[in-house]
Protein backbone atom coordinates (compact mmCIF):
# COMPACT_ATOMS: atom_id res chain seq x y z
CA UNK A 1 0.00 0.00 0.00
CA UNK A 2 0.94 3.62 -0.37
CA UNK A 3 0.85 6.22 2.39
CA UNK A 4 1.43 9.96 2.45
CA UNK A 5 4.59 10.78 4.42
CA UNK A 6 4.69 14.16 6.11
CA UNK A 7 7.79 16.30 6.44
CA UNK A 8 6.52 19.08 8.67
CA UNK A 9 9.77 21.05 8.43
CA UNK A 10 9.09 21.64 4.73
CA UNK A 11 5.48 22.79 5.19
CA UNK A 12 5.00 26.52 4.60
CA UNK A 13 1.32 26.48 5.53
CA UNK A 14 0.17 27.50 2.03
CA UNK A 15 -2.83 25.13 2.20
CA UNK A 16 -2.49 24.21 -1.47
CA UNK A 17 -3.11 20.62 -0.39
CA UNK A 18 -6.44 21.61 1.10
CA UNK A 19 -7.53 23.57 -1.95
CA UNK A 20 -6.52 20.67 -4.18
CA UNK A 21 -8.48 18.27 -2.00
CA UNK A 22 -11.57 20.46 -2.08
CA UNK A 23 -11.33 20.96 -5.85
CA UNK A 24 -10.81 17.26 -6.50
CA UNK A 25 -14.10 16.52 -4.79
CA UNK A 26 -16.10 18.93 -6.93
CA UNK A 27 -17.49 18.11 -10.35
CA UNK A 28 -15.25 20.57 -12.20
CA UNK A 29 -12.19 19.51 -10.19
CA UNK A 30 -10.87 23.02 -10.69
CA UNK A 31 -9.27 25.16 -7.98
CA UNK A 32 -10.10 28.21 -10.09
CA UNK A 33 -13.83 27.42 -10.07
CA UNK A 34 -13.89 26.39 -6.42
CA UNK A 35 -16.49 28.17 -4.29
CA UNK A 36 -14.77 28.48 -0.93
CA UNK A 37 -17.94 29.72 0.72
CA UNK A 38 -19.95 26.64 -0.20
CA UNK A 39 -19.91 24.31 2.84
CA UNK A 40 -20.31 21.37 0.44
CA UNK A 41 -16.67 21.95 -0.46
CA UNK A 42 -14.87 20.40 2.45
CA UNK A 43 -11.22 19.44 2.57
CA UNK A 44 -10.35 15.98 3.84
CA UNK A 45 -6.88 17.06 4.89
CA UNK A 46 -5.78 19.76 7.28
CA UNK A 47 -2.94 22.13 8.02
CA UNK A 48 -3.05 23.01 11.71
CA UNK A 49 -0.83 25.34 13.70
CA UNK A 50 1.05 23.86 16.63
CA UNK A 51 1.63 25.67 19.94
CA UNK A 52 4.32 27.86 18.35
CA UNK A 53 2.18 28.70 15.32
CA UNK A 54 4.14 26.47 12.94
CA UNK A 55 2.12 24.61 10.31
CA UNK A 56 1.66 20.85 10.49
CA UNK A 57 0.02 19.00 7.58
CA UNK A 58 -2.36 16.34 8.87
CA UNK A 59 -3.61 13.70 6.46
CA UNK A 60 -5.43 10.39 6.95
CA UNK A 61 -2.99 7.52 7.59
CA UNK A 62 -5.25 4.76 6.27
CA UNK A 63 -4.02 3.11 9.46
CA UNK A 64 -2.88 -0.49 9.70
CA UNK A 65 -5.33 -0.85 12.60
CA UNK A 66 -7.93 1.80 11.75
CA UNK A 67 -9.87 2.88 14.84
CA UNK A 68 -12.52 4.49 12.62
CA UNK A 69 -13.33 1.20 10.87
CA UNK A 70 -13.29 -0.77 14.12
CA UNK A 71 -15.85 1.62 15.57
CA UNK A 72 -18.09 1.75 12.49
CA UNK A 73 -21.38 0.04 13.30
CA UNK A 74 -22.95 0.49 9.87
CA UNK A 75 -20.27 -1.25 7.80
CA UNK A 76 -19.53 1.98 5.92
CA UNK A 77 -15.83 2.00 6.80
CA UNK A 78 -13.61 -0.88 5.81
CA UNK A 79 -9.90 -1.35 5.26
CA UNK A 80 -9.50 -2.72 1.75
CA UNK A 81 -7.14 -5.69 2.07
CA UNK A 82 -5.91 -5.28 -1.52
CA UNK A 83 -5.13 -1.56 -1.54
CA UNK A 84 -4.69 -0.96 2.19
CA UNK A 85 -7.01 2.04 1.93
CA UNK A 86 -9.66 2.70 4.55
CA UNK A 87 -12.68 3.22 2.34
CA UNK A 88 -15.88 5.01 3.28
CA UNK A 89 -19.25 4.19 1.75
CA UNK A 90 -21.48 7.25 2.04
CA UNK A 91 -24.63 5.26 1.31
CA UNK A 92 -24.02 2.87 4.19
CA UNK A 93 -22.86 5.63 6.55
CA UNK A 94 -25.48 6.37 9.22
CA UNK A 95 -23.82 9.50 10.61
CA UNK A 96 -23.51 7.93 14.06
CA UNK A 97 -20.08 9.59 14.54
CA UNK A 98 -18.48 6.55 16.13
CA UNK A 99 -15.60 7.11 13.69
CA UNK A 100 -15.31 10.79 14.58
CA UNK A 101 -15.20 9.76 18.22
CA UNK A 102 -12.55 7.12 17.54
CA UNK A 103 -10.01 8.66 15.16
CA UNK A 104 -7.18 9.75 17.50
CA UNK A 105 -5.99 12.29 14.93
CA UNK A 106 -9.30 14.00 14.10
CA UNK A 107 -9.08 13.15 10.41
CA UNK A 108 -12.62 11.93 9.79
CA UNK A 109 -15.36 14.48 10.34
CA UNK A 110 -19.06 15.06 9.85
CA UNK A 111 -19.91 16.59 6.50
CA UNK A 112 -20.43 20.26 7.17
CA UNK A 113 -23.32 20.72 4.77
CA UNK A 114 -25.97 18.30 6.02
CA UNK A 115 -24.13 16.75 8.98
CA UNK A 116 -25.46 13.32 8.00
CA UNK A 117 -22.44 11.34 6.84
CA UNK A 118 -18.75 11.26 7.62
CA UNK A 119 -16.15 12.70 5.27
CA UNK A 120 -12.63 11.34 4.97
CA UNK A 121 -9.65 11.01 2.63
CA UNK A 122 -10.30 8.63 -0.28
CA UNK A 123 -6.70 8.82 -1.52
CA UNK A 124 -8.13 10.16 -4.83
CA UNK A 125 -8.53 6.54 -5.98
CA UNK A 126 -9.30 7.49 -9.57
CA UNK A 127 -5.96 9.29 -9.92
CA UNK A 128 -2.46 7.86 -10.04
CA UNK A 129 -1.46 10.07 -7.12
CA UNK A 130 -3.50 11.91 -4.48
CA UNK A 131 -4.11 15.45 -5.65
CA UNK A 132 -2.80 16.97 -2.41
CA UNK A 133 0.59 15.34 -2.91
CA UNK A 134 0.70 16.61 -6.49
CA UNK A 135 -0.23 20.09 -5.34
CA UNK A 136 2.34 20.44 -2.57
CA UNK A 137 5.00 22.90 -3.77
CA UNK A 138 7.54 22.19 -1.04
CA UNK A 139 7.68 18.42 -0.75
CA UNK A 140 6.15 18.44 2.73
CA UNK A 141 3.91 15.59 1.67
CA UNK A 142 5.22 12.75 -0.46
CA UNK A 143 4.17 9.19 -1.17
CA UNK A 144 5.84 6.14 0.27
CA UNK A 145 5.30 2.47 -0.55
CA UNK A 146 4.68 -0.01 2.25
CA UNK A 147 4.50 -3.77 2.31
CA UNK A 148 1.33 -5.39 3.57
CA UNK A 149 2.52 -5.51 7.21
CA UNK A 150 2.97 -1.74 7.10
CA UNK A 151 6.77 -1.67 6.79
CA UNK A 152 8.39 0.95 4.59
CA UNK A 153 9.76 -0.30 1.29
CA UNK A 154 10.20 2.83 -0.82
CA UNK A 155 10.22 6.55 -0.07
CA UNK A 156 9.90 9.55 -2.40
CA UNK A 157 7.93 7.89 -5.18
CA UNK A 158 8.21 9.44 -8.68
CA UNK A 159 5.96 12.26 -9.82
CA UNK A 160 7.18 14.80 -7.32
CA UNK A 161 9.62 16.74 -9.49
CA UNK A 162 8.47 20.05 -8.08
CA UNK A 163 9.22 18.88 -4.60
CA UNK A 164 12.72 17.82 -5.52
CA UNK A 165 13.46 21.19 -7.11
CA UNK A 166 12.52 23.00 -3.94
CA UNK A 167 14.58 20.63 -1.82
CA UNK A 168 17.65 21.42 -3.94
Amino acid sequence: MKRILINRELCQGCRNCQLACMAEHTEAKSVLMLDLEDPANQARNFVEADLDGRPVPLLCRHCDDPACATACMSGALRKNPDTGLVEHDRVKCAGCWMCVMSCPYGLIRPDQLAGRTAVKCDFCVTRPMPRCVEACPTGAITLIELESKGRLTKAGLPGQSLAREVEM
Partner: protein, 419 residues
Protein backbone atom coordinates in the same frame (compact mmCIF):
# COMPACT_ATOMS: atom_id res chain seq x y z
CA UNK B 1 -8.07 -28.79 9.26
CA UNK B 2 -9.33 -26.80 12.24
CA UNK B 3 -13.04 -26.61 12.97
CA UNK B 4 -14.03 -23.17 14.25
CA UNK B 5 -17.46 -22.67 15.75
CA UNK B 6 -18.70 -19.13 16.41
CA UNK B 7 -21.86 -18.52 18.42
CA UNK B 8 -23.28 -15.14 17.45
CA UNK B 9 -23.30 -13.08 14.25
CA UNK B 10 -23.12 -9.56 15.62
CA UNK B 11 -20.09 -7.25 16.02
CA UNK B 12 -17.85 -9.70 17.91
CA UNK B 13 -18.77 -12.89 16.04
CA UNK B 14 -18.37 -11.37 12.58
CA UNK B 15 -15.10 -9.68 13.52
CA UNK B 16 -13.74 -12.99 14.81
CA UNK B 17 -14.78 -14.78 11.62
CA UNK B 18 -12.87 -12.21 9.56
CA UNK B 19 -9.77 -12.58 11.76
CA UNK B 20 -9.84 -16.37 11.54
CA UNK B 21 -10.24 -16.38 7.76
CA UNK B 22 -7.43 -13.86 7.37
CA UNK B 23 -5.12 -16.17 9.30
CA UNK B 24 -6.37 -19.60 8.25
CA UNK B 25 -7.52 -19.82 4.63
CA UNK B 26 -8.53 -23.48 4.86
CA UNK B 27 -10.15 -23.82 8.29
CA UNK B 28 -13.81 -24.73 8.54
CA UNK B 29 -15.72 -21.79 10.01
CA UNK B 30 -19.34 -22.12 11.13
CA UNK B 31 -21.32 -19.20 12.51
CA UNK B 32 -24.48 -19.96 14.47
CA UNK B 33 -26.87 -17.16 15.26
CA UNK B 34 -30.21 -16.77 16.91
CA UNK B 35 -30.75 -13.84 14.55
CA UNK B 36 -32.28 -14.68 11.18
CA UNK B 37 -30.33 -11.86 9.57
CA UNK B 38 -27.12 -9.98 10.23
CA UNK B 39 -27.87 -6.46 11.38
CA UNK B 40 -26.42 -3.73 13.52
CA UNK B 41 -28.22 -3.52 16.86
CA UNK B 42 -27.06 0.08 17.14
CA UNK B 43 -29.20 0.94 14.11
CA UNK B 44 -32.54 -0.59 15.11
CA UNK B 45 -33.92 2.81 16.06
CA UNK B 46 -33.35 3.97 12.48
CA UNK B 47 -35.82 1.28 11.38
CA UNK B 48 -38.37 2.48 13.94
CA UNK B 49 -37.79 6.11 12.98
CA UNK B 50 -38.27 5.24 9.30
CA UNK B 51 -34.80 6.32 8.15
CA UNK B 52 -33.60 2.83 7.22
CA UNK B 53 -35.01 -0.42 5.93
CA UNK B 54 -34.07 -3.70 7.61
CA UNK B 55 -31.68 -4.43 4.73
CA UNK B 56 -29.94 -1.13 5.34
CA UNK B 57 -28.91 -2.15 8.84
CA UNK B 58 -26.73 -4.98 7.51
CA UNK B 59 -23.16 -4.08 8.46
CA UNK B 60 -21.34 -6.69 6.37
CA UNK B 61 -20.84 -7.18 2.65
CA UNK B 62 -23.82 -8.73 0.84
CA UNK B 63 -21.74 -11.80 -0.02
CA UNK B 64 -19.78 -11.90 3.26
CA UNK B 65 -20.36 -15.59 4.04
CA UNK B 66 -19.73 -16.82 0.47
CA UNK B 67 -16.73 -14.54 -0.02
CA UNK B 68 -15.05 -15.82 3.12
CA UNK B 69 -16.26 -19.40 2.73
CA UNK B 70 -18.11 -19.40 6.05
CA UNK B 71 -21.07 -21.60 6.86
CA UNK B 72 -23.84 -19.56 8.48
CA UNK B 73 -26.66 -21.25 10.35
CA UNK B 74 -29.19 -18.58 11.31
CA UNK B 75 -32.30 -18.91 13.46
CA UNK B 76 -30.90 -21.28 16.08
CA UNK B 77 -28.97 -21.00 19.30
CA UNK B 78 -26.75 -23.04 21.58
CA UNK B 79 -28.64 -24.80 24.36
CA UNK B 80 -25.89 -27.00 25.81
CA UNK B 81 -22.11 -27.02 25.86
CA UNK B 82 -20.13 -30.23 26.32
CA UNK B 83 -16.63 -28.86 26.85
CA UNK B 84 -15.08 -32.27 27.50
CA UNK B 85 -16.47 -33.66 24.26
CA UNK B 86 -15.93 -30.31 22.45
CA UNK B 87 -19.54 -30.24 21.27
CA UNK B 88 -22.35 -27.71 21.27
CA UNK B 89 -25.98 -28.73 21.09
CA UNK B 90 -28.29 -26.36 19.27
CA UNK B 91 -31.96 -25.50 19.64
CA UNK B 92 -32.70 -27.32 16.36
CA UNK B 93 -31.51 -30.57 17.95
CA UNK B 94 -28.27 -30.77 16.01
CA UNK B 95 -24.89 -31.12 17.65
CA UNK B 96 -21.75 -29.42 16.32
CA UNK B 97 -18.19 -30.42 17.08
CA UNK B 98 -15.43 -27.82 17.35
CA UNK B 99 -11.69 -27.51 17.83
CA UNK B 100 -11.97 -23.82 18.74
CA UNK B 101 -15.16 -22.25 20.04
CA UNK B 102 -16.07 -18.58 20.29
CA UNK B 103 -18.97 -17.56 22.48
CA UNK B 104 -20.24 -14.22 21.20
CA UNK B 105 -23.88 -14.66 22.14
CA UNK B 106 -24.29 -11.09 23.31
CA UNK B 107 -26.72 -9.92 25.95
CA UNK B 108 -30.47 -9.64 26.45
CA UNK B 109 -32.59 -6.86 27.85
CA UNK B 110 -33.60 -7.20 31.47
CA UNK B 111 -37.06 -6.52 32.79
CA UNK B 112 -36.84 -4.77 36.17
CA UNK B 113 -39.00 -6.23 38.95
CA UNK B 114 -41.99 -4.01 38.30
CA UNK B 115 -45.48 -5.35 38.89
CA UNK B 116 -47.23 -6.50 35.67
CA UNK B 117 -44.28 -5.57 33.45
CA UNK B 118 -43.85 -9.17 32.33
CA UNK B 119 -47.59 -9.61 31.74
CA UNK B 120 -48.45 -6.56 29.67
CA UNK B 121 -49.09 -7.45 26.02
CA UNK B 122 -47.62 -4.19 24.73
CA UNK B 123 -44.37 -4.24 26.69
CA UNK B 124 -41.14 -4.53 24.68
CA UNK B 125 -37.42 -3.87 24.93
CA UNK B 126 -35.22 -2.77 22.04
CA UNK B 127 -32.46 -5.26 21.44
CA UNK B 128 -33.36 -7.43 18.45
CA UNK B 129 -34.80 -6.87 15.01
CA UNK B 130 -37.99 -8.59 16.17
CA UNK B 131 -38.29 -5.98 18.93
CA UNK B 132 -38.04 -3.16 16.38
CA UNK B 133 -40.74 -4.82 14.24
CA UNK B 134 -42.99 -5.28 17.28
CA UNK B 135 -42.49 -1.70 18.41
CA UNK B 136 -43.46 -0.41 14.96
CA UNK B 137 -46.54 -2.64 14.85
CA UNK B 138 -47.67 -1.87 18.41
CA UNK B 139 -47.06 1.86 18.07
CA UNK B 140 -49.65 1.82 15.29
CA UNK B 141 -52.27 0.78 17.82
CA UNK B 142 -51.77 3.62 20.26
CA UNK B 143 -50.83 7.25 20.31
CA UNK B 144 -49.07 7.24 23.68
CA UNK B 145 -45.93 5.31 24.63
CA UNK B 146 -43.93 5.27 27.88
CA UNK B 147 -40.21 4.54 27.85
CA UNK B 148 -38.62 3.28 31.07
CA UNK B 149 -35.00 4.42 31.27
CA UNK B 150 -33.32 7.40 29.59
CA UNK B 151 -30.00 5.75 28.71
CA UNK B 152 -28.85 5.48 25.09
CA UNK B 153 -31.22 2.65 24.17
CA UNK B 154 -34.17 4.32 25.88
CA UNK B 155 -33.49 7.65 24.19
CA UNK B 156 -32.94 6.01 20.80
CA UNK B 157 -36.30 4.27 21.13
CA UNK B 158 -38.05 7.34 22.52
CA UNK B 159 -36.85 9.71 19.79
CA UNK B 160 -37.57 7.17 17.04
CA UNK B 161 -41.12 6.73 18.33
CA UNK B 162 -41.57 10.49 18.54
CA UNK B 163 -40.55 10.61 14.88
CA UNK B 164 -43.40 8.21 14.15
CA UNK B 165 -45.76 10.80 15.59
CA UNK B 166 -46.45 9.08 18.90
CA UNK B 167 -46.61 10.98 22.19
CA UNK B 168 -43.68 9.68 24.28
CA UNK B 169 -43.15 9.95 28.04
CA UNK B 170 -39.75 8.92 29.38
CA UNK B 171 -39.41 7.87 33.03
CA UNK B 172 -35.89 8.06 34.45
CA UNK B 173 -34.66 7.43 37.98
CA UNK B 174 -31.82 9.98 37.64
CA UNK B 175 -32.29 13.75 37.43
CA UNK B 176 -31.70 14.06 33.67
CA UNK B 177 -31.43 11.98 30.51
CA UNK B 178 -28.30 9.98 29.65
CA UNK B 179 -26.85 10.21 33.17
CA UNK B 180 -23.90 7.95 32.27
CA UNK B 181 -23.05 9.81 29.05
CA UNK B 182 -23.87 13.48 29.65
CA UNK B 183 -23.89 16.09 32.39
CA UNK B 184 -26.98 18.06 33.24
CA UNK B 185 -26.08 20.96 30.93
CA UNK B 186 -25.59 18.79 27.85
CA UNK B 187 -28.65 16.69 28.68
CA UNK B 188 -30.78 19.85 28.98
CA UNK B 189 -30.16 20.73 25.31
CA UNK B 190 -31.65 17.40 24.29
CA UNK B 191 -34.52 17.62 26.74
CA UNK B 192 -35.54 20.96 25.21
CA UNK B 193 -35.34 19.53 21.68
CA UNK B 194 -37.30 16.45 22.70
CA UNK B 195 -40.08 18.50 24.27
CA UNK B 196 -40.45 20.33 20.96
CA UNK B 197 -41.06 16.90 19.43
CA UNK B 198 -43.97 15.98 21.67
CA UNK B 199 -41.90 14.17 24.31
CA UNK B 200 -42.20 14.46 28.07
CA UNK B 201 -39.83 13.53 30.88
CA UNK B 202 -40.38 12.36 34.42
CA UNK B 203 -37.13 12.43 36.42
CA UNK B 204 -36.18 11.20 39.90
CA UNK B 205 -38.99 8.71 39.82
CA UNK B 206 -39.53 5.01 39.25
CA UNK B 207 -42.30 2.86 37.87
CA UNK B 208 -44.22 1.03 40.59
CA UNK B 209 -46.54 -0.98 38.36
CA UNK B 210 -48.03 -1.29 34.91
CA UNK B 211 -51.77 -0.76 34.75
CA UNK B 212 -53.43 -3.48 32.64
CA UNK B 213 -57.00 -4.15 31.56
CA UNK B 214 -58.59 -7.57 32.05
CA UNK B 215 -56.93 -8.83 28.83
CA UNK B 216 -53.47 -7.65 29.94
CA UNK B 217 -53.47 -4.70 27.55
CA UNK B 218 -51.32 -1.82 28.76
CA UNK B 219 -53.30 1.15 30.06
CA UNK B 220 -50.61 3.16 31.78
CA UNK B 221 -47.93 3.32 34.45
CA UNK B 222 -48.18 3.96 38.16
CA UNK B 223 -45.13 5.73 39.56
CA UNK B 224 -43.50 5.41 42.98
CA UNK B 225 -44.25 9.11 43.58
CA UNK B 226 -47.94 8.36 43.16
CA UNK B 227 -48.22 9.89 39.70
CA UNK B 228 -49.59 8.08 36.67
CA UNK B 229 -48.64 7.96 32.98
CA UNK B 230 -51.43 6.92 30.63
CA UNK B 231 -50.00 4.92 27.70
CA UNK B 232 -50.87 2.11 25.33
CA UNK B 233 -47.39 0.65 25.13
CA UNK B 234 -44.20 0.44 27.20
CA UNK B 235 -40.60 0.24 26.02
CA UNK B 236 -38.22 -0.99 28.72
CA UNK B 237 -34.61 0.15 28.53
CA UNK B 238 -33.25 -0.78 31.93
CA UNK B 239 -30.05 -2.55 31.05
CA UNK B 240 -28.91 -5.92 29.75
CA UNK B 241 -27.59 -9.25 31.02
CA UNK B 242 -25.15 -11.51 29.18
CA UNK B 243 -26.53 -14.59 27.44
CA UNK B 244 -24.73 -17.25 29.47
CA UNK B 245 -27.58 -19.47 30.68
CA UNK B 246 -26.47 -22.36 28.47
CA UNK B 247 -23.11 -22.40 30.29
CA UNK B 248 -24.66 -23.45 33.59
CA UNK B 249 -23.02 -26.65 34.86
CA UNK B 250 -20.01 -26.17 32.59
CA UNK B 251 -16.45 -25.33 33.70
CA UNK B 252 -16.59 -21.99 31.82
CA UNK B 253 -15.99 -19.44 34.55
CA UNK B 254 -18.47 -16.53 34.71
CA UNK B 255 -18.88 -13.38 36.78
CA UNK B 256 -21.06 -10.58 35.48
CA UNK B 257 -20.22 -12.12 32.11
CA UNK B 258 -17.85 -14.81 30.86
CA UNK B 259 -14.39 -14.28 32.36
CA UNK B 260 -11.62 -13.99 29.80
CA UNK B 261 -7.90 -13.30 29.79
CA UNK B 262 -6.16 -10.73 27.57
CA UNK B 263 -6.40 -13.13 24.65
CA UNK B 264 -10.18 -13.48 25.13
CA UNK B 265 -9.67 -17.06 26.26
CA UNK B 266 -12.09 -18.40 28.88
CA UNK B 267 -11.16 -20.65 31.77
CA UNK B 268 -11.46 -23.61 29.37
CA UNK B 269 -8.76 -24.21 26.73
CA UNK B 270 -10.08 -23.85 23.19
CA UNK B 271 -13.07 -21.75 24.28
CA UNK B 272 -13.04 -18.00 23.77
CA UNK B 273 -15.57 -15.24 24.44
CA UNK B 274 -15.97 -11.73 23.05
CA UNK B 275 -18.40 -8.83 23.04
CA UNK B 276 -21.32 -8.15 25.38
CA UNK B 277 -21.31 -11.71 26.72
CA UNK B 278 -17.95 -11.33 28.46
CA UNK B 279 -16.30 -9.09 31.03
CA UNK B 280 -12.84 -7.84 30.20
CA UNK B 281 -10.11 -5.51 31.39
CA UNK B 282 -11.33 -2.01 30.49
CA UNK B 283 -8.51 0.42 29.58
CA UNK B 284 -9.74 3.67 31.13
CA UNK B 285 -10.64 2.31 34.56
CA UNK B 286 -8.21 -0.62 34.68
CA UNK B 287 -11.15 -2.68 35.97
CA UNK B 288 -12.59 -5.95 34.74
CA UNK B 289 -16.15 -5.20 33.64
CA UNK B 290 -18.67 -5.66 30.84
CA UNK B 291 -17.76 -3.33 27.96
CA UNK B 292 -20.99 -3.19 25.96
CA UNK B 293 -19.88 -0.84 23.18
CA UNK B 294 -19.44 -1.66 19.48
CA UNK B 295 -15.69 -0.90 19.16
CA UNK B 296 -14.88 -3.17 22.12
CA UNK B 297 -16.92 -6.01 20.64
CA UNK B 298 -15.16 -5.70 17.27
CA UNK B 299 -11.75 -5.52 18.90
CA UNK B 300 -12.41 -8.44 21.23
CA UNK B 301 -13.76 -10.52 18.35
CA UNK B 302 -10.63 -9.77 16.37
CA UNK B 303 -8.38 -10.72 19.30
CA UNK B 304 -10.33 -13.94 19.93
CA UNK B 305 -10.35 -14.93 16.26
CA UNK B 306 -6.65 -14.22 15.82
CA UNK B 307 -5.74 -16.34 18.83
CA UNK B 308 -8.11 -19.13 17.79
CA UNK B 309 -6.33 -19.28 14.45
CA UNK B 310 -2.91 -19.39 16.07
CA UNK B 311 -1.78 -15.76 15.94
CA UNK B 312 -1.11 -14.66 19.53
CA UNK B 313 -2.43 -11.14 20.11
CA UNK B 314 -3.56 -9.32 23.23
CA UNK B 315 -6.50 -6.99 23.80
CA UNK B 316 -5.54 -3.32 23.80
CA UNK B 317 -7.56 -0.12 23.61
CA UNK B 318 -10.56 -1.71 25.28
CA UNK B 319 -12.04 1.72 25.97
CA UNK B 320 -15.68 1.49 27.01
CA UNK B 321 -16.15 5.01 28.38
CA UNK B 322 -16.83 6.67 25.05
CA UNK B 323 -20.16 7.52 23.50
CA UNK B 324 -21.46 9.33 20.46
CA UNK B 325 -25.06 10.27 19.85
CA UNK B 326 -27.33 12.39 17.71
CA UNK B 327 -30.90 13.27 18.54
CA UNK B 328 -32.96 15.62 16.36
CA UNK B 329 -29.84 16.75 14.51
CA UNK B 330 -27.79 17.66 17.59
CA UNK B 331 -24.63 15.56 18.05
CA UNK B 332 -22.60 14.87 21.17
CA UNK B 333 -19.53 12.85 22.03
CA UNK B 334 -18.36 12.11 25.56
CA UNK B 335 -15.38 10.36 27.12
CA UNK B 336 -14.34 9.13 30.54
CA UNK B 337 -15.60 10.83 33.68
CA UNK B 338 -18.66 13.02 33.06
CA UNK B 339 -18.75 14.98 36.32
CA UNK B 340 -15.74 15.85 38.51
CA UNK B 341 -15.59 13.16 41.21
CA UNK B 342 -13.71 15.30 43.75
CA UNK B 343 -11.84 18.48 44.70
CA UNK B 344 -8.66 17.45 42.89
CA UNK B 345 -10.40 17.77 39.51
CA UNK B 346 -10.47 20.97 37.46
CA UNK B 347 -13.34 21.68 35.10
CA UNK B 348 -12.92 23.79 31.97
CA UNK B 349 -16.06 24.84 30.10
CA UNK B 350 -16.74 26.54 26.78
CA UNK B 351 -20.49 27.15 26.74
CA UNK B 352 -21.93 28.93 23.71
CA UNK B 353 -25.58 28.25 24.46
CA UNK B 354 -27.41 26.77 21.49
CA UNK B 355 -24.27 27.08 19.36
CA UNK B 356 -22.45 24.43 21.34
CA UNK B 357 -21.03 23.22 24.59
CA UNK B 358 -17.65 21.76 25.50
CA UNK B 359 -16.34 20.60 28.81
CA UNK B 360 -13.11 19.00 29.92
CA UNK B 361 -12.29 17.51 33.32
CA UNK B 362 -8.61 17.66 34.28
CA UNK B 363 -6.58 16.08 37.04
CA UNK B 364 -2.81 16.49 37.43
CA UNK B 365 -2.47 17.75 33.84
CA UNK B 366 -4.37 14.83 32.38
CA UNK B 367 -7.82 14.86 30.78
CA UNK B 368 -10.09 12.52 32.73
CA UNK B 369 -13.28 13.28 30.89
CA UNK B 370 -14.78 15.39 28.13
CA UNK B 371 -18.13 16.32 26.62
CA UNK B 372 -18.53 17.91 23.20
CA UNK B 373 -21.93 19.00 21.96
CA UNK B 374 -22.64 20.66 18.64
CA UNK B 375 -19.20 20.82 17.05
CA UNK B 376 -17.73 17.34 17.47
CA UNK B 377 -15.41 17.56 14.47
CA UNK B 378 -12.15 16.43 16.05
CA UNK B 379 -13.54 14.71 19.15
CA UNK B 380 -11.26 11.69 18.81
CA UNK B 381 -8.21 13.66 19.88
CA UNK B 382 -9.71 14.28 23.30
CA UNK B 383 -10.69 10.62 23.39
CA UNK B 384 -7.13 9.53 22.67
CA UNK B 385 -5.78 11.86 25.37
CA UNK B 386 -8.26 10.48 27.91
CA UNK B 387 -7.63 6.87 26.92
CA UNK B 388 -3.85 7.17 26.86
CA UNK B 389 -3.63 9.42 29.95
CA UNK B 390 -1.34 11.88 28.15
CA UNK B 391 -0.09 14.84 30.15
CA UNK B 392 -1.22 18.09 28.51
CA UNK B 393 0.35 20.49 31.01
CA UNK B 394 1.01 23.80 29.28
CA UNK B 395 -1.79 23.23 26.77
CA UNK B 396 -4.70 23.72 29.17
CA UNK B 397 -5.57 27.18 27.85
CA UNK B 398 -6.12 25.77 24.36
CA UNK B 399 -7.73 22.53 25.43
CA UNK B 400 -10.78 23.17 23.20
CA UNK B 401 -8.61 23.98 20.18
CA UNK B 402 -6.21 21.06 20.50
CA UNK B 403 -5.38 19.29 17.29
CA UNK B 404 -3.03 16.47 16.49
CA UNK B 405 -0.54 19.18 15.43
CA UNK B 406 0.11 19.62 19.16
CA UNK B 407 1.20 16.00 19.47
CA UNK B 408 2.53 15.27 15.99
CA UNK B 409 4.87 12.28 15.87
CA UNK B 410 5.38 10.05 12.86
CA UNK B 411 7.07 6.69 12.37
CA UNK B 412 9.23 5.84 9.39
CA UNK B 413 6.25 4.12 7.77
CA UNK B 414 4.14 7.25 8.12
CA UNK B 415 2.02 6.02 11.02
CA UNK B 416 1.16 8.58 13.69
CA UNK B 417 1.56 7.99 17.40
CA UNK B 418 1.38 9.89 20.68
CA UNK B 419 4.73 10.36 22.41
Amino acid sequence: MSKYLILGASAAGISAARAIREQDGGGEITVISKDERVYSRCMLHYIIGGQRSEDETRFIEDDFFEQHNIRWLPGREAVKLDSAGKKVQLSDGETHRYDQLLIATGASSVLPPVENLGRGKQVRSLRNLEDARDIIRLSGGTDTVAVIGAGLVGMDAACALAQRGVKVTVVEVAGHILPLQLDQRAAASYERLCKKHNMEFIFNDMVASVVLDEDDNVQGLKLKSGGTVPCGMVVVAAGVKPNIDFLRDTPVDTGRGIKVNEQQQTSVAGIYAAGDVCESLESFTGQVMPTPVWPSAVRQGWVAGSNMAGRPVRLEDNFAFQNSMTFFGLSSVSFGTINPPGESFRVLVDDRGDAGYKKVILQDGRIKGAILQGDISAAGILGALVKKGINISGLENRVFELSYADFFAQKENGEFYFK
